[in-house]
């Protein structure tokens, strides 16, 4: 029983950490209706920016830096899409590819960097102490009686609920609504005298800021940043979005956003169960891809099946 509860907490904890990323993918894929591959780069960009600032001793600023880094990546993709008229998919690939170099440079020419890194010089004096993270601070201040896994889970949950609430509120403002309408009918937005390019760039920026925020959270949670963490991120995000939207496709954007967070949780539970039945960890990506394919095909199958049923 305890084992299952522990597994669930771990799965949900991860689900919450990746939830902002799923919300970011939701924003481009489902609201702006232009799939954005920047995600794979901006997730790592969030990690690398965060790891550097966190090591310098500012864990909260680390999360902020990671988020801003993502926004900058989004700005780049957005400008490529709108001002230079490059195909959205290619724009994302270009930014993602360029970011690899940037991320590598930020990590100082290594492929990963640890927050726990402790070094002693030749005299045996500690010159480098493990960096503080928001999770450690939270544990120290509020979670003395709880396990570290539990406090991490609680903190991430609170952060994600706040993030989701802010995003949902934003969608109800005029600028937020303009972004939804831009994905729906860009021409209508322009004829309402709203600069659709700005809406589009803004949307891609917010999307990547969310993705990078996820990366920054993961970095502090697992206490290291790694260049390979972004691989397959878009498909994982899509899996969460599609699982979430299966249940809420015809609802308002507010409910859909909540659905996406739930989708992220559900996705991690599925993955956790797969691990439990001895799936090797390298099989996650194939499993994610298969989930996305199945989820995309089901509505189409339902339609054809219904049509046939109707003819009889």
């Amino acid at each position: 029983m305890n084992e299952i509860a522990g597994m669930l907490v771990s799965a949900l904890g991860q689900g919450f950490i990746y939830a902002p990323m799923a919300l970011g993918v939701f924003l481009t894929f489902s609201i702006l209706k232009t799939p954005d591959l920047t995600v794979e780069g901006s997730f790592v960009f969030g990690m690398t920016a965060c790891v550097v600032v966190t090591i310098a001793g500012h864990p909260i600023l680390g999360l902020v830096a990671g988020t801003l880094a993502g926004a900058a990546a989004g700005l780049c993709t957005g400008l490529l899409q709108t001002k230079l008229k490059i195909e959205p998919i290619l724009s994302g690939i270009l930014t993602m590819t360029g970011l690899y170099t940037v991320n590598y440079a930020i990590l100082g020419g290594q492929s990963n960097r640890y927050l726990q890194y402790e070094a002693k010089n030749s005299l045996g004096v500690t010159v480098n102490k493990p960096a503080d993270t928001v999770y450690k601070i939270f544990q120290r201040d509020f979670g003395k009686d709880m396990s570290s896994g539990m406090t991490a889970f609680l903190l991430t949950m609170i952060i994600v609920i706040v993030t989701c609430a802010v995003l949902v509120t934003f969608f109800r403002t005029r600028n937020g609504m303009a972004i939804i309408a831009t994905g729906d009918n860009e021409e209508m937005v322009r004829s309402s005298s709203i600069n659709a390019d700005v809406s589009r760039i803004g949307g891609v920026m917010i999307s990547n800021a969310l993705v990078a925020f996820s990366g920054a959270l993961l970095c502090q949670y697992q206490k290291y940043a790694d260049l390979n963490c972004g691989n397959g991120m878009l498909v994982m995000g899509l899996a969460s979005v599609i699982i979430g939207l299966t249940f809420f496709s015809n609802h308002s954007v507010t409910i859909q956003a909540v659905g996406v967070v739930l989708g992220s949780l559900l996705y991690r539970i599925i993955i956790q169960i797969a691990y439990k039945i001895d799936m090797p960890s390298y099989a996650v990506k194939l499993l994610s891809a298969v989930i996305v394919v199945i989820a995309l095909v089901i509505p189409w199958l339902q339609k054809t099946y219904k049509k046939k049923g109707g003819r009889r």
Partner: protein, 258 residues
């Protein structure tokens, strides 16, 4: 408030300097007085749509100038012009965002005149939207929270008409906006158009292929052919024109060219 629209010496070529060169607008001159309702005739390829696109800013002319009121808007970006120009197309899907509600669509269209508020929807504007929707007589005022994509073509076009005019534009462009509707819905939308245009005295250009509409609505009828205005009817001359004679003229032009 309505303004004068003036096109001076507009030329627009597609694929210029190639064997496929097509002159869409050929030194076109047109002045529409404030509050005037002009119907525009012309066969396919005569330059009507190009003229609209030049006025709207989705195409820039090779030569010539576009004035709205006393402002030169030739180089102004399309979304900036949209502040003063409302537009409605044949396809009811073009003017609305299907996944937003009727209320939200109106709120976006009303952006330039909206009351300041943190959220896009506010009580004051919503009350106003309800009031204007009720003038349509379609019961849409009770369905303001419905996604606009769920409405019928006629309802959606009527809503688009409201969206195009709700922020009181100086100029209204109608591109065969009833052509895709069934006859009943078309009549209804035309009647609404007439009412809104007359009440607000908006300068209006309406492209139509319906000879009856061309003479019945507005006070002036022009015909385009090969990028030029080949007929301009007002006053007595227009009153004496019949749909039969107009059709003859129309097909004569089309035939000669084809």
């Amino acid at each position: 408030m309505s303004s004068q629209l003036k096109l001076t010496d507009i030329t627009k070529k597609f694929e210029a300097n190639t064997v496929n060169e097509k002159v869409a607008l050929d030194h076109l001159n047109l002045t529409v007085e404030p509050g005037q309702f002009v119907t525009v005739l012309g066969s396919n390829g005569s330059g009507k749509s190009t003229m609209f696109n030049v006025i709207l800013g989705s195409l820039f002319p090779d030569e010539g100038k576009v004035y709205l009121g006393d402002k030169d808007i030739t180089k102004l970006k399309d979304y900036k012009r949209a502040l003063n120009i409302g537009c409605l197309y044949q396809n009811p899907l073009r003017g609305t965002a299907p996944n937003l509600t009727i209320e939200e669509n109106l709120a976006l269209a009303y952006t330039r005149k909206a009351s300041p508020s943190f959220f896009a929807l506010n009580k004051k504007d919503s009350a106003y939207f309800r009031e204007v929707l009720s003038t349509l007589g379609m019961g849409l005022e009770d369905r303001m929270k419905t996604k606009i994509g769920l409405l019928s073509g006629g309802q959606r076009q009527a809503a688009s008409l409201l969206m195009a005019t709700i922020a009181e534009p100086e100029l209204l462009l109608l591109d065969e906006h009833t052509a895709a509707l069934d006859p009943g819905a078309a009549e209804k939308v035309m009647a609404l158009t007439k009412k809104i245009v007359e009440e607000n005295k908006i300068t209006t250009l309406m492209i139509t292929h319906d000879m009856e509409y061309a003479l019945e609505y507005g006070s002036r009828t022009i015909m385009l052919d090969s990028g030029k205005i080949v007929m301009d009817l007002t006053g007595k001359e227009r009153e004496e024109m019949t749909t039969g004679k107009l059709a003859e003229l129309f097909y004569g032009k089309a035939h000669k060219r084809g």
